[in-house]
């Protein structure tokens, strides 16, 4: 399924720090990274991306459109509704998980994440 081309991951986070860390971790892992700074920008980047990303990592708490909104919007898009989406969350409480699942998230990563756990998570949904 996956050709020679690098696997592409869209990361959506309003924190430039977090975006920097995601990019470093993922690019270090050989992934091609595209980024959006909030839900709205994330959707724009997603729709404009060619080739489209193989997975999305998104923060939850963002201005304009939060992570849940983003996931719900993506799940409604015919061409993207099966894309794996991993949310970044600072809490691992069942409430947050239930909310993420309900919105249609494939999985989650608890912040702060280590490079290994991040790459493992992405590998699991894109390998």
């Amino acid at each position: 399924m996956v050709g020679k081309q690098a696997i592409r991951v869209l990361t959506v986070d309003d924190s430039r720090t977090m975006q920097g860390m995601l990019r470093k971790a993922l690019e270090g892992g050989g992934y091609d990274v595209i980024q959006g700074e909030d839900g709205v920008a994330g959707l724009e980047v997603l729709q404009a991306a060619n080739p489209p990303p193989n997975a999305i990592i998104t923060d939850i708490n963002m201005p304009r459109m939060d992570g849940f909104g983003l996931i719900e919007a993506v799940r409604k898009m015919v061409q993207f509704r099966h894309i794996p989406i991993i949310v970044l969350t600072t809490e691992s409480g069942p409430e947050k998980k239930a909310r993420a699942r309900e919105a249609g998230a494939t999985g989650w990563i608890v912040k702060p994440f280590s490079t290994d756990s991040l790459v493992a998570a992405i590998r699991r949904v894109t390998a």
């Binding site: 399924m1 720090t17 920097g20 892992g29 919007a73 494939t106 999985g107 912040k111 493992a120």
Partner: protein
């Protein structure tokens, strides 16, 4: 730390500054009684982001405090706590602590007083506690988290699955004894798993990883018994169930974590070979559409499963290729589906980009060159052909106006609203209030007024001192205010506006005004003015700027932080600005600062002295006049004085003062021009020059980059003919003329040359 990580850390601190500004803005709005949910969200988000980033870098103090802060803000966000004035005050105080903790993390500098942190934390916890939810400060950073992966190691071959969820939701204990038998995992995904972008394949990868970690492998059996006939197959539904045998060394916990994400949308069991599976059996699909496999019973998923009602609408046609997606639907997005459901999202905000400052500075330099080159072109054309063809003249004129437009445009790029520095003043006021036990509200106006960014940064110190001064000396004690019929809460207005190429900043308080009798008495006592001096009100007001006016025994704890108002005035002057005071006894004082919009160009007066053309900042020149011989007087040591409306001031022949003696005619010619210049303490000197040639905007260039400091010179510029011209440092010239050591000269020069 690897460069990459260092860069990200830099970005983090940059972002902290921005978030703190956002926080300040939001809290100020709340303090003004606003209660928009978006404001509250923004405030929450700011603290949340700082915490998130700090955790990634293992900045524990910062994380711990931010966490409590965030928890208390969450109370407001969720509506459990009303943002009353008292609560907002606690938040403002916490913001100051947070900001200091950020500085501490960044500079490693003076440690924030733990008592202060604890106090603020206790207040925040009180907010949380008051609605019965205790904050958990442990486990903010998972114990197995290694902060800051310094150097990335590509996916290791002996990959050990890191539990992607650090929560301990599941009551499973680690395998109690020796792993006795191979582990058997069965699972059967629901349709909902695919609707979430997950896939049975992903679970198989997770299980494979678990096996590889113990150097084993897995055996997978796929049960296709429920697969309907091709005609009945619905591509969005799940029909397969799986049985996986893992090596005995794999623990149940590890497998459990593989199902952490998707456990609610698939039925799964974990058991040891030979043991009965939990609840005595292997996986049974929960859906009626799928007959039970191998006569086993369904295992209870660890978390309540969503009702497994097939919710996906089946697509109309069944394509052969879509049999496969049941196994791997996630990877291939339907090509060119047209995005019918994807509502186009329009940006409502203005797009912005970040540009490194040196690039803009470079652009600014180049524009400066352009201005000079175009002036040179013009003067050469004129010289070459006195009767320039009209077309050429017009072309040059239009180029001139374009050049000026470009210069303005680049200046606009460098311009920044004064908001950031104005907002910082809220804190200054809060702190000053708490030290003086006064209650003062600072109102900001015109925060969007833009000035060159180099100047924005330099405003902070003078404004800080002036506000402290206003609270300490301007605003009266509460009882005095009440006695005077004023409200107990003092008012200070800090405003900015543009005024004919300058920025005008006013600090207006509703305090008691300057007590001129006392100021005069103090000044006389300190020997600043003669005991019998007769001064105007304005002159008395300005005495507070005199060096030595404020001394240790008159300044309080607060404004006595080592700076007097003379330093403020010096700072303003060194920025090429002016400061004036208006004060009405009983009703308050207004300080007006007038500053240039930029430190990159300067409004200069082109003068000739000692055969050289030089530039003196217009802001240093009080007035210009023609010297009348009858007004001059020669002292016994040869120095000359001149009388200006009764005041005797020293005359300084600029050429010889600068050692440009070759051309100097020591006798000021009748008709020579004198510039009266003034320094921060009001000392005046008359600079004698040969000629005033012009006024011009000049681009400031450093002399020290390729040379050294020159006494009496602050910087240089390039004139229209391409020649270098020196920019004079008036305070330094005055200092050397009046023989007083001016310690601030070098600062002034640095500022001017920056």
């Amino acid at each position: 730390m690897s460069g990459d990580m260092g860069d990200i850390l830099l970005v983090f601190f940059q972002e902290c500054d921005e978030q703190l500004q956002e926080l300040e803005r939001g809290l100020s709005a709340l303090s003004d009684g606003e209660s928009e949910q978006e404001t509250i969200n923004a405030v929450f988000r700011a603290v949340h982001s700082i915490k998130g980033g700090a955790a990634s870098f293992g900045l524990e103090n910062l994380v711990r405090f931010a966490h409590v802060f965030e928890s208390s803000l969450d109370g407001v966000r969720s509506g459990r706590v009303a943002p009353t004035q008292d609560i907002v005050k606690i938040f403002l105080k916490a913001m100051d602590v947070l900001s200091d903790l950020v500085v501490e993390a960044r500079d490693g500098g003076p440690t924030v007083d733990p008592g202060r942190v604890a106090e603020s934390q206790a207040e925040l916890e009180f907010i949380i506690g008051s609605n019965g939810e205790a904050p958990k400060t442990d486990d903010i950073v998972p114990s197995d988290f290694v902060p800051v992966p310094m150097d990335f190691v590509p996916v290791p071959v002996d990959f050990e699955p890191v539990p992607v969820d650090f929560g301990l939701d599941f009551g499973f204990d680690a395998a109690p004894g020796q792993p006795p038998a191979p582990l058997i995992v069965t699972f059967c995904p629901h349709d909902a798993m695919y609707a979430r972008g997950d896939d049975a394949r992903n679970i198989l990868i997770g299980l494979t990883d678990a096996a590889v970690a113990v150097e084993g492998e897995i055996t997978v059996t796929c049960d296709v018994s429920t697969l309907p006939s091709f005609a009945e197959l619905e591509p969005d539904r799940s029909y397969l169930s799986w049985r996986v045998v893992l090596p005995a060394e794999v623990s149940e916990d590890t497998v459990q974590s593989v199902f952490d994400w998707g456990g609610d949308v698939c039925d799964f069991t974990i058991s040891r070979e030979g043991e009965p599976a939990p609840d005595g059996g292997e996986a049974v699909p929960a859906m009626e559409a799928q007959p039970p496999g191998e006569g086993s019973q369904a295992a209870a998923p660890p978390e309540p499963a969503l009702p497994a009602v097939p919710e996906t609408s089946s697509s109309s046609g069944v394509a052969a290729a879509q049999v496969v997606p049941a196994a791997s639907p996630a990877v291939a997005p339907a090509p060119a589906a047209g995005g019918a459901n994807a509502a186009p999202v329009r940006r409502t905000e203005q797009a912005t980009i970040r540009v490194d400052l040196p690039r803009i500075d470079n652009l600014m330099d180049l524009v400066g060159e352009l201005v000079i080159a175009q002036a040179a072109l013009e003067s050469q054309c004129r010289r070459a052909n006195a009767s320039m063809p009209r077309e050429l003249g017009e072309s040059i004129a239009s180029m001139q106006s374009l050049t000026r437009d470009i210069q303005d445009a680049v200046m606009a790029v460098r311009a920044q609203p004064v908001r950031s520095v104005f907002q910082r003043m809220q804190r200054v006021v809060r702190e000053a209030c708490s030290m003086t036990k006064k209650d003062v509200v600072l109102t900001l106006e015109g925060e969007d007024t833009e000035v060159d960014r180099t100047l924005v940064e330099k405003l902070s110190d003078p404004l800080t001192h002036m506000l402290r001064n206003a609270i300490d000396h301007g605003i009266e004690k509460v009882e005095d205010r009440l006695a005077a019929g004023k409200s107990a809460v003092g008012q200070i207005l800090l405003s900015a506006s543009h005024r004919s190429g300058h920025i005008l900043i006013t600090i207006k308080d509703d305090g008691g005004g300057i007590n001129r009798e006392r100021v005069l008495a103090t000044a006389i006592k300190r020997g600043i003015v003669a005991p019998d001096a007769v001064l105007t009100d304005d002159e008395i007001n300005n005495l507070i700027f005199a060096p030595g006016f404020s001394t240790a025994d008159t300044v309080s704890n607060l404004s006595g932080r080592g700076v007097g108002m003379d330093v403020v005035k010096q700072a303003i002057l060194s920025l090429g600005g002016r400061v004036t005071i208006q004060s009405v006894p009983g009703s308050g004082t207004v300080f007006c600062l007038s500053l240039p919009l930029t430190l990159a160009v300067l409004d200069g007066m082109l003068i000739v002295a000692g055969g050289a053309t030089m530039v003196i900042p217009v802001s240093s020149v009080v007035e210009t006049m023609i010297i009348k011989p009858q007004d001059t007087y020669v002292l016994p040591d040869g120095k000359k004085m001149v009388s200006i409306r009764g005041d005797c001031i020293p005359m300084v022949p600029l050429g010889s003062q600068l050692g440009l003696s070759a051309y100097v005619s020591d006798e000021p010619q009748n008709g020579a021009v004198m510039l009266i210049v003034e320094n921060e303490s009001g000392a005046r000197v008359g600079l004698v020059v040969d000629e005033i040639r012009d006024q011009a905007h000049v681009v400031i260039k450093s002399m020290e980059k390729n040379y050294r400091r020159i006494p009496g010179v602050s910087a240089a510029t390039i004139l229209g003919d391409g020649s270098v011209s020196l920019i004079l440092d008036a305070p330094a010239l005055i200092a050397s003329a009046v023989g007083r050591i001016n310690t601030k000269v070098s600062d002034a020069r640095a500022v001017l040359a920056a």
